[in-house]
């Protein structure tokens, strides 16, 4: 190749910091992994069975761009029943290829070159690149451990400029597990209203909450019109591989997103959509069982971390614990790498999720109790060895 065919945009993107740990761990045997960002449950059988049936019956064609109307109706009634928010199935809901694609079309729909999106770190590794790919500018602000990794309204105000278009919000949060309650959401809503901002609310973990009741941002007074609500089936329904998410937003925004969605992807996979219909119709008891199980494991792992000297706040949702490893004197990367090489336990160093994640590690408790017990045993050994 004589010419460099790669766009400046593609060249500028940094590979995810998680990738290195994946490569390291993938070559090892007997690894106990707390590094997995997905449920350890297999998709409920009733859901898998429904997808198989849809294939047998020959539902193998495209669906409507926005997704099967039957599924959108189910999503609308699910959002109403579960979270008390109302969206029109015909004009305000799009079924997407995972929540990730929903974030992508949301960014591409609202951003002009140079527009700023506030990204609250630590957070999912894809947000900033997705803003950049949509020609926007990610502006990072740090949720701090002394605030249980919840962002303060004053911190948001400090970085708002004339170019700020939106705030990217994820609660319950990956990687910290922190969940914002109603009052805290109201504080953010006030800022959004004062500066006339949109909020992209990644509510993919909304099903997985353990102590307080979940409040959707769209439920906060006046926020429905400012919220692009993103969710999906991956986490709550244990359907990561199906790649099925959805986005709910006011009609004007949804219709603009639909144009991009239609040209980029046509529609989400039809079989996965049939599976999702079944998940919403008959998956509730499975979700409840999984939540129960996650809650117990969360309690176990968080207490175990605190017992071994790794301070850890009790996360309100998702399936991640985010203990501090500062007492060991190691950096996140050093800790994670040595723990992997010396004790064969895989965790993700907190710094890959943003600057304020440094000094922490992300430990997914979406794994069996036996594996968690083994991980705790090995981590205890490791900490005793290095201290």
């Amino acid at each position: 190749m004589k010419k460099n065919y790669l766009s400046k945009k593609a060249q500028a993107l940094k590979p995810s910091g998680i990738r290195r740990f994946f490569d390291l761990a993938a070559g090892m045997k007997g690894v106990v992994s707390l590094g997995v960002g997905e449920p350890d449950f297999v998709t409920p059988w009733t859901v898998r069975e429904a997808a198989i049936l849809s294939i047998e019956q020959g539902y193998t064609s495209y669906s409507a761009n926005a997704g099967l109307l039957e599924l959108r109706k189910e999503i609308a009634s699910y959002m109403q029943k579960q979270f008390n928010v109302a969206y029109s199935p015909s004009t305000e809901i799009i079924v997407t290829v995972g929540a990730s694609q929903a974030i992508d079309i949301a960014m591409r729909t609202i951003l002009d070159p140079g527009d700023e999106v506030i990204i609250i770190e630590p957070c999912f590794v894809s947000y900033s690149p997705m803003v950049e790919m949509a020609d926007g500018v990610p502006v990072h602000v740090q949720a701090l451990k002394e605030n249980d990794f919840k962002i303060l309204p004053s911190q948001l105000e400090e970085v708002i400029t004339e170019k700020t278009k939106a705030i990217m919000l994820c609660s319950p949060n990956n990687p910290t597990g922190s969940m914002l309650n109603k009052k805290e959401l109201e504080d953010i809503a006030e800022i959004a209203d004062k500066y006339d901002l949109l909020v992209i609310a990644d509510e993919i973990y909304a099903e997985l909450v353990y102590d307080e009741e979940y409040t959707s941002l769209a439920l906060i007074n006046g926020m429905r019109e400012r919220t692009i609500l993103i969710s999906g089936f991956s986490k709550g329904f244990a359907m990561t591989g199906w790649r099925l998410g959805f986005v709910c937003a006011p009609e004007e925004i949804t219709q603009a997103m639909l144009k991009i969605h239609q040209y980029a992807i046509m529609c989400a996979p039809t079989m996965a959509q049939f599976a999702a219909i079944e998940a919403l119709k008959n998956g509730r008891s499975d979700v409840e069982e999984m939540v129960k199980s996650y809650r117990r494991r969360r309690n176990y792992i968080v207490q175990s971390f605190n017992d071994m000297g790794l301070t850890c706040h009790l996360p309100g949702g998702a399936f991640y614990a985010f203990p501090s490893i500062e007492s060991t004197g190691l950096s996140s990367e050093e800790f994670a790498e040595r723990l992997l090489l010396e004790e064969s336990v895989a965790v993700v160093p907190g710094n890959v999720f943003g600057a304020s994640g440094e000094g922490h590690i992300r430990c997914s408790y979406a794994t069996s109790m036996e594996q968690l017990q083994e991980a705790v045993k090995r981590m205890k050994q490791f900490i005793e060895k290095i201290s």
């Binding site: 998680i18 761990a25 993938a26 997995v36 494991r297």
Partner: protein, 166 residues
């Protein structure tokens, strides 16, 4: 007896894994170890936790001669005691593993275990059907156990996920 939320949680966890270490169990339900031990002791005393057993896949044990039969039993209930008396007369036999009172086409569902077909046949013809209140029996032999008490015997539960993901 009404159980508290924590007690219920402890029972549910033990029902799935009776061998879990009590200190791990205590962490899972956010209680101290002494309190957890106290609750378990109380539940045992109250016979809510009746017994700790294992689920064995006898199908895997070579030369194990044993078989299970489910017998549908129709009986005449007795005035004053209903089905309880006849149920007791049946469940006292050591061959009988379980007895349930059923709704529907028959009254008692009796599970029995024997070393051979002969042994089971002997029990049904000599003991069970000769009881005064027993009207009829229908015996079904279990050919293969796929899933027992919520446990799938031959399942592939390998973790199919990639080791580290965002």
């Amino acid at each position: 007896m009404k159980l508290t939320e924590k007690e219920l949680e402890i029972v549910e966890i033990l029902e799935k894994d009776a061998r879990i270490h009590t200190d791990d169990l205590a962490k899972m339900v956010q209680l101290s170890l002494p309190v957890t031990k106290e609750i378990i002791k109380k539940l045992e005393e109250q016979k809510i936790i009746v017994k700790y057993t294992s689920v064995i896949d006898w199908g895997k044990v070579e030369d194990h001669s044993g078989l299970t039969a489910m017998i549908d039993v129709k009986v005449t209930p007795q005035r004053g005691v209903g089905f309880d008396e006849i149920a007791e007369r049946i469940y006292r036999y050591k061959e009988v593993k379980s007895v349930y009172l059923m709704s529907g086409a028959y009254d008692l569902s009796v599970e029995i275990e024997g070393k051979s077909m002969n042994e089971v046949a002997h029990f049904v013809s000599q003991k069970l059907s000769t009881l005064d209140s027993v009207i009829s029996t229908t015996t079904h032999f279990i050919l293969k156990k796929y899933k027992h008490d919520g446990t799938i015997f031959e399942s592939d539960d390998d973790d199919k996920r990639i080791v580290v993901s965002p």
